[in-house]
C-alpha cells in the first residue's frame, strides 16, 4: 500500500542537477598565481610518474587536480568545490621549510539541509548539504578552500635538494610526495578539523562543529559537545583516550587498523579495572599476545647515592620476597630504565611497570639496551601510576600483553583514537588520528613514507560528518536509498516519452528515495514481455491512484505511455 503522505513532488525538491548516474563532486583548482610563476612557471619539465605536464607550472597544477580528483571521485555533491591555490615562496632554510597550508575559507551553520543545529560545516560540505553553492564564484572569496604551497622547495637554501615529487605514482623516493600532502591538506579543508580552540576548549563563536560532534573522551565517557570548555581543554591532553564515535569510522576500523596494541589491563580491583596505555621498551622481552599476569607489587630499595627514592629501583630491591613472581612497579627517575628493570628482574619480578615522574600522555617508550634483561618492561603515565599505587595495599591484579583484541589506533571498544598528546601540540592535536595507528593513516600528524594515496579511515570520517554517499543527489544516502540511481526529472518519462505527469519522490517507507518514474521503470526490469510490463504498471498506477497520489487522468496518461513504449 502506498501512502499519500510519503510522497513529495520532484519539482519541490532542492535538486540542483537532474541525475540518474553515479555522481561525484567537481573540485576545481582556481589558479591564483600571476603569469610566469607558481602554476604558471614556464620552466620545461619532463613528464614524471603519470603527470604529463611539460612545464613545472603545469605539472604542479596537474598534481593539484589529481589530488582533488581523488576526493572528488568519492564525495558526492551537486555544488562545485573550488580550491583557491597558489605556489609562492614560503619560509624556509636549508634544513627546514614550510611546505604549505590549506583549510576552509568559510564555515556555515543552521542553513537549510544542515544535519545538526548550531553546528559549523566547512563551506564545501555546506554546498553538499544545502544542495547549492553557498559562495559566489570568483577569486579567494568565492572559493571553499584556500591552499598555498612553497614554490622554492628544493632550491638552494630551501630544504636544498629535497623537492615536491609531482608524479601521480607515489614513487617519490627521497622527495616529498605532493599528491599525498595535498590529499591530507584537502581533507582538512573538506571538514577533517575542528574549528574550536582546542587549547582553551572554547567553541568558535559558541558553535559546535561537525567534527567535534563525533569526539568523545573514553575516560569520562563524555562527548565533546557535552563538555565545558575546561573539560574539552583537558580532554585534548588525554593521550590515547579520545575517540571518534562516528559509525562509519568504527565500522571501518577492522579493515584499516591491524590487531594488537600493547596494553596494561588491570583486572582488579573493579574500580581500577580497564585498559591502560603503555610505552614499550627497547630492551627486554617484547609484549606478546600471551602476556604476563600477576599481582602488582611496589618495588622497594634503599635511599642511597644511586637514588634517593625508595621506589626508584636504582639499587637492588629490598623486598625481593614480595616481588618474586609478581609484576614490580617502580618510579621513573635518577637512574636509567635498564638499571630499574634489571633490579626488578634480579628480585624475581616477571615484568616491571615504570610510572612516569612527570605529567604527560600517552606514555613514551623506554630506551636503553641490556641483553641480559629478559622480562618485559613498560611505562605508564604519572597519573595512571598514582592511581595504581593508591590501590596496591588492597591488591592489584594485572596483565601486560600485546592485546590482539584491540586494534593499533583504536580503543578497547574499537573506536578510532585521535591525537591528543600531553603536552598539547597546536596544529596537530585533535584534528588528526593518533600516531599509534598501524598501518599509518593519511590524517596522522606526520606524512609517513608508506602512505599510498588511499583514503583509509579518513573517508569514513568524512562520511560521518555529512559527506554521505548520494550518487543521484537526491539527499538520501545511498546506504538507505531504495533507488540510488533515481530518475529525478520533474515529470514521469516512460520509455523516453514524457507523460507530462508530475513525478513524485518517496520520503519514507519501502520506496524511500524512489520516484514514481523509478517504480514504473522497475516494472520493466522484471517483466517477461511487454504485456507483463503493462500489467505491472497498471497495478502500480492503481495503487497510486488509490493512495490519492495520481488522479484518474494522470493514471491514464502514464498507462497510455506504458502501452506505447517499447519495454521491456
Amino acid at each position: 500500500m502506498i501512502k499519500r503522505s510519503l510522497l513529495a513532488l520532484i519539482a519541490a525538491l532542492p535538486l540542483a542537477l537532474p541525475s540518474s548516474a553515479a555522481a561525484s563532486s567537481h573540485i576545481v583548482i582556481v589558479n591564483g598565481n600571476a603569469p610566469g610563476v607558481g602554476f604558471n612557471d614556464p620552466m620545461p619539465a619532463a613528464p614524471v610518474g603519470g603527470n604529463p605536464g611539460t612545464t613545472l607550472g603545469e605539472q604542479r597544477l596537474r598534481a593539484f587536480q589529481h589530488a582533488a580528483d581523488i576526493w572528488g571521485a568519492t564525495l558526492d555533491s551537486a555544488a562545485e568545490i573550488r580550491i583557491f591555490a597558489t605556489f609562492e615562496p614560503l619560509t624556509c632554510t636549508p634544513t627546514a621549510a614550510t611546505l604549505g597550508s590549506a583549510g576552509s575559507t568559510f564555515v556555515f551553520a543552521d542553513f537549510p539541509g544542515a544535519l545538526l543545529p548550531h553546528t559549523l560545516y566547512s563551506a564545501a560540505l555546506t554546498g553538499k548539504l544545502f544542495g547549492a553553492d553557498p559562495l559566489v564564484p570568483g577569486g579567494l572569496s568565492g572559493s571553499h578552500i584556500r591552499a598555498r604551497f612553497n614554490s622554492n622547495l628544493g632550491n638552494p637554501g630551501c630544504l636544498t635538494g629535497t623537492r615536491f615529487y609531482l608524479g601521480f605514482d607515489n614513487n617519490h623516493g627521497a622527495n616529498i610526495d605532493l599528491v599525498t600532502v595535498l590529499e591530507h591538506e584537502f581533507a582538512h579543508g573538506l571538514g577533517f578539523q575542528t574549528f574550536a580552540n582546542t587549547s582553551t576548549g572554547a567553541l568558535l563563536a559558541g558553535y559546535s562543529d561537525a567534527y567535534l560532534h563525533l569526539i568523545a573522551d573514553n575516560t569520562t565517557g563524555k562527548s565533546w559537545e557535552a563538555m565545558t570548555n575546561a573539560e574539552r581543554a583537558a580532554s585534548a591532553r588525554n593521550g590515547r583516550r579520545v575517540v571518534v564515535t562516528g559509525p562509519h569510522v568504527t565500522a571501518a576500523v577492522p579493515g584499516n587498523l591491524q590487531s594488537g596494541t600493547p596494553l596494561l589491563r588491570i583486572l582488579s580491583p573493579a574500580g581500577l579495572a580497564g585498559a591502560y596505555p603503555v610505552g614499550t621498551a627497547a630492551f627486554g622481552a617484547p609484549l606478546n599476545a600471551t602476556g604476563v599476569f600477576g599481582q602488582v607489587v611496589l618495588g622497594l630499595d634503599p635511599s642511597d647515592v644511586t637514588g634517593p627514592s625508595t621506589t626508584d629501583g636504582c639499587s637492588p630491591l629490598t623486598n625481593a620476597g614480595a616481588v618474586a613472581g609478581k609484576i614490580a612497579m617502580l618510579d621513573r627517575g635518577t637512574c636509567g630504565f635498564i638499571v630499574k628493570a634489571k633490579n626488578a628482574q634480579d628480585a624475581g619480578a616477571v615484568a616491571v611497570i615504570i610510572a612516569d615522574n612527570a605529567a604527560g600522555s600517552p606514555p613514551a617508550g623506554l630506551g636503553g639496551a641490556d641483553p641480559t634483561i629478559t622480562i618485559p618492561a613498560v611505562r605508564v603515565t604519572q597519573s595512571d601510576g598514582i592511581a595504581i599505587r593508591n590501590q596496591l595495599a588492597g591488591g592489584v591484579s594485572a596483565a601486560l600483553s600485546l592485546d590482539l583484541a584491540v586494534r593499533a589506533g583504536a580503543d578497547d571498544a574499537g573506536r578510532a583514537l585521535i591525537y591528543t598528546p600531553d603536552p598539547f601540540v597546536q596544529g596537530s592535536s585533535v584534528s588528526h588520528w593518533d600516531t599509534i595507528a598501524t598501518p599509518n593513516l593519511l590524517m596522522e600528524p606526520f606524512i609517513n613514507d608508506d602512505l599510498t594515496h588511499g583514503l583509509d579511515l579518513t573517508l569514513p570520517l568524512l562520511r560521518d560528518i555529512g559527506w554521505y554517499p548520494d550518487g543521484d543527489l537526491d539527499f538520501v544516502s545511498d546506504e538507505v536509498d531504495a533507488c540510488p540511481g533515481s530518475d529525478l526529472r520533474a515529470t514521469i518519462f516512460v520509455g523516453g516519452s514524457d507523460t507530462g505527469v508530475p513525478n513524485g519522490f518517496f520520503v519514507d517507507g519501502p520506496h524511500y528515495g524512489c520516484t514514481i518514474a523509478d517504480l514504473v521503470a522497475a516494472e520493466a526490469v522484471g517483466a517477461k514481455n511487454h504485456g507483463a510490463f503493462v500489467s505491472g504498471v497498471a497495478q502500480l498506477l492503481n495503487d497510486l491512484k488509490k493512495a490519492g497520489i495520481l488522479t484518474g487522468s494522470q493514471k491514464g496518461e502514464v498507462q497510455s505511455a506504458a502501452a506505447g513504449a517499447s519495454l521491456p
Partner: protein
C-alpha cells in the same frame, strides 16, 4: 550565480535532507595497507623538553593559535550564519631534515606559526635528535 542569501530564500526545505544521515555502517573500505617504513614516534617525556617548558609552549600556542577575534560572522534572515576564517585557521605543514637524513613533518595552525617554527628550527634544535629516540632515564 547565487549568493547564500538568495539561495536560502529559494530553498524549499523538506524532511528528506535531515533523514539522509540515518545511515547504516559502511562496509570497511579497501585493504589494509602494508607498513613499509618506520613510524615517527612522538616521545613526550620530560627529557624531550628543549628550549621551552611545556607551560611555556602552551602559553605560546594559546597566544598564537586560531585568531577567533578576526572571524567575521554574517547572520542570515533565516537564522543561518556564515563565518569567514582568516589564515590563522589554516592547517600548515612544515618539514625538517633530521640528522639521520629523514624528514620530520609537523603540523601547525596558521602560516604565521609555521613561519616561526621554521625560523626557529636549526640543526641544533629540532633536527638534532633522531625521531625515534627513546629516553633512557
Amino acid at each position: 550565480m547565487r549568493t547564500l542569501v538568495s539561495a536560502l530564500s529559494a530553498f524549499i526545505a523538506l524532511g528528506i535532507a535531515t533523514a539522509a544521515h540515518a545511515q547504516p555502517p559502511q562496509t570497511p573500505p579497501g585493504q589494509a595497507k602494508k607498513q613499509t617504513a618506520p613510524k615517527q614516534t612522538a616521545d613526550h617525556g620530560t627529557g624531550d623538553a628543549e628550549e621551552l617548558t611545556p607551560a611555556d609552549q602552551e602559553l605560546l600556542q594559546r597566544l598564537f593559535g586560531k585568531n577567533e577575534s578576526a572571524v567575521v560572522l554574517t547572520p542570515f534572515a533565516n537564522g543561518g550564519v556564515r563565518l569567514e576564517l582568516d589564515e590563522s585557521f589554516q592547517e600548515a605543514i612544515t618539514v625538517t631534515i633530521a640528522d639521520d637524513g629523514s624528514l620530520k613533518f609537523s603540523h601547525l595552525t596558521g602560516l604565521a606559526n609555521a613561519t616561526e617554527a621554521v625560523k626557529a628550527a636549526s640543526p641544533n634544535t629540532t633536527a638534532t635528535k633522531p625521531v625515534t629516540a627513546l629516553e633512557e632515564k
